[in-house]
Assembly symmetry: C2
């Protein structure tokens, strides 16, 4: 685990925008320069690594990010419970980390994962099942059915 | 344009979690129930509709969301400029809307787009070019080179 007393020199996202492909930087320097919001959180988009399906978006704090990288298992920070949220801890629907990416200004994470079963607490594979499409912009359509009854997911 | 005085009955994300595939809801009811943060903003993930590449994440307010759906061209809200940000207005790198999705609890948007050229202001196709992977977790690697010099993008 890395704490905030790291002696790594700070990384500047701005000054490294023209870094060459293949160039590397120290992880602690980069992580300590991430831009967390006022609650100490950063948004994390979870994408299934092979199909590229966007599964969900949740939030991480510095501790959950560090745990995710160290253990290779995705851990978020639950805003409702105000505690670490080890994805799949209750439901068994874990996310194995394949790759973690940061955006150009260091305020968003993209986690490439291998998702077991449904990512969504409704039992659907992904959380984005309410859609407006260009064929009928006056309606929102439910695009997906649950893979499993959510009662089955959380009864353990 | 829809304003906040809409008379549509409020939609409950929670109460409709078990809605059937193909079921539809009135767009105004759903939009007025979206959960914006204290700044009146909601995160919007942009994904290239055919390749499924995650391009960027930015923020929308109610007005930019409405404009995006009405015009079929993605408009964000710029937190730094505190104004509507019609993506590609300066650079020409527009995002044509293909489909807009909302997540299960109505606090995140997924916009499926057709992106012209680079989505990232650094000239890269997407913003997520800084990666930690499981082969070498002590380093962050730059994974992509710019498609175009950013000076070329913004000189117009």
């Amino acid at each position: 685990m890395t704490d905030n007393t790291s002696n790594s020199p700070a990384f500047s996202f701005k000054n490294n925008e023209n870094a060459n492909q293949g160039q590397t930087f120290d992880i602690d320097s980069v992580f300590q320069s991430l831009k967390y919001n006022e609650q100490g959180l950063i948004p994390a988009i979870a994408q299934q690594y092979d199909t590229k399906e966007v599964l969900m978006m949740a939030w991480m704090n510095a501790a959950s990010l560090r745990e995710t990288v160290d253990k290779g298992r995705v851990c978020y920070f639950s805003r409702s419970r105000q505690s670490l949220w080890r994805k799949g801890e209750t439901s068994g629907q874990v996310q194995v980390l394949k790759e973690l990416r940061m955006d150009c200004d260091g305020d968003t994470l993209l986690v490439l994962v291998d998702q077991t079963g449904p990512a969504c607490h409704t039992g659907r594979r992904n959380c984005f099942y309410l859609a407006v499409n260009q064929d009928g912009i006056n309606n929102i359509t439910v695009t997906d059915a649950p893979l499993i009854d959510p009662k089955e997911l959380y009864k353990k």
